[in-house]
Amino acid sequence: MMSILNALVYLILAPVLGGLVAGIDRKITARMQGRVGPPILQPFYDVAKLFEKEDVTVTPSQNYYILSYLVFMAVTGALFFAGGDMLLVIFAFTLAHVFIVLGAYAAYSPYSYLGAERELIALMAYEPMIILTAVGLYLVTGSFYVSDIAASTVPVILYLPGVFLGFLTVLTIKLRKSPFDISTSHHAHQELVKGLTTEFSGATLGKIEIAHWYETVVMLGIVYLFFGFNPLLAIIVIALVYLLEIFIDNTFSRMKWEMTMKSGWGAAAILGFLNLAVLYYFYLGV
C-alpha cells in the first residue's frame, strides 16, 4: 500500500521537482558565466509554451514513440519509488531510451539520424556501469529491491566508493551534460541542430522535456541509495553531486563520441569492477 502511494506521489511531484532542478541549473550556470540568468521557473514557461505551439509532425509514428518514451520514463520512476526490483527499473529505463531513439529514427532527417546514433552510443557507454551499480548495491545489502536497499542501515558508500564515482561519471552522460552531450545539449543548440530532438516541435518536444525531468529525479534517487543509512546526509550529497555536474558542464567542452565510450566503459572497468572485486574478496570472503 505504502509503495503504491510512493509511486503516485512520484508521478505527480517528480515533474515539479525535475523542472525546478532544471531551472536552478540554468540560473547557476548563468551566474557562473557572469550573467543574471532566466527566472527559476523558466523551464516550466518553456514547456507551457511548447504546448501552445502548432503541432508539426513529420511522420505520425514519431509522436507515439515519444509518448511511449514519456510513459516508460514515468513507469521507471514509479517502479523505483515503489521500491521495486532494481533490475526491472534498469530494464524499463533502457526501454524508454529505445523509444526515443526509435522516435528520432522515425523522422527522416540526417540530423535526427545522427542524434539517434549518438544516443545509442551514449546508451552503450553508460549501461554497463548502471548494471554494475545495481550489482554492487546487491552485494552490500543483499537485495535487489529498492525498498530494502534504501532501508538498509549499512553505510553503502563505504563499501562502494569506486562504484559511486563510476556512477557519477555515467550520470554526466545521462544528464546530457558537457563533455558528454553528444546527442543533444542544452547549451550549444547550433551544433548538430540539437541532435536527437531536431524533428520534434511543439507538444512533442514538451513531452521529451518532461520525460527528462522524470529521468533527473530517478538518477538522483539512485544517488540517494548510496547514502540511505542517513537521509539528511543523502540529501546534502545529492545537492553537491548536482552542483558538481553543473560545474563540470560549464568547464568542459564537448568531446567526441570515442571519449564518451572510453569514459563510460573505463569507469565501469576500473572503478566498478575493481571495487566489486575488492569487495568480493574481503567482505564476502569471510
Binding site: A30, G37, Q42, E52, E54, S201
Partner: protein, 147 residues
C-alpha cells in the same frame, strides 16, 4: 495564460549581411545584455523557433533558403528584420544580385533600423515582436475555436 511571451526561442539567419549586424545580434546573447534572462534562447533549429531574426539583404541565391526556413517554423511565428539591409536592401540595394529587403520573400513583422543595428534596438525590436506573437496566438486560438 500566455507563455509564448515568456519563452521566445529565436533563430538567427544571416542573409548576405556584412557581418556588422550579426555580431550585434550575438552581442545581445553575451553577459552584458544577457537576453536569456527574458527566456530568449538562440536555437539553430527552425522547428523549435518562434522568432526568425534575419540580418542582411536577400540575394537571389538565398531566396529559396529563407522561404524554406520560414515555412518550417510552426505557427505562431514572427519575423524580425535587423539592420537597414534586411529592411530594404540598404547600401547593397542596387547590386545586381540583391532582391531587396526580407519582405520581398516573406512577410516581416518588425523592422529594426540602424547600420549596424544597436543591441538595444534589437532587443527593443524583439520585445515588439513578442507583442505581435501574442496577437497571432490569440488569432490562431480563435480560428481553432471556429473550426
Amino acid at each position: 495564460m500566455a507563455y509564448l511571451k515568456k519563452s521566445p526561442w529565436l533563430l538567427h539567419y544571416d542573409a548576405s549581411s556584412c557581418n556588422g549586424c550579426d555580431i550585434e545580434v550575438l552581442a545581445c546573447l553575451t553577459p552584458l545584455y544577457d537576453v536569456e534572462r527574458f527566456g530568449i534562447i538562440n536555437t539553430g533549429n527552425p522547428k523549435h523557433a518562434d522568432v526568425l531574426v534575419i540580418t542582411g539583404g536577400i540575394n537571389e541565391l538565398n531566396r529559396q533558403v529563407v522561404r524554406n526556413i520560414y515555412n518550417q517554423m510552426p505557427e505562431p511565428r514572427v519575423v524580425v528584420a535587423v539592420g537597414i539591409c534586411a529592411s530594404s536592401g540598404g547600401v547593397f540595394r542596387e547590386c545586381y544580385n540583391i532582391a531587396g529587403g526580407v519582405d520581398q520573400v516573406i512577410p516581416v513583422d518588425v523592422y529594426v533600423p540602424g547600420c549596424a543595428a544597436r543591441p538595444e534596438s534589437i532587443i527593443d525590436g524583439i520585445v515588439q515582436a513578442l507583442g505581435i506573437l501574442e496577437e497571432k496566438r490569440t488569432k490562431m486560438k480563435e480560428q481553432e475555436a471556429q473550426r
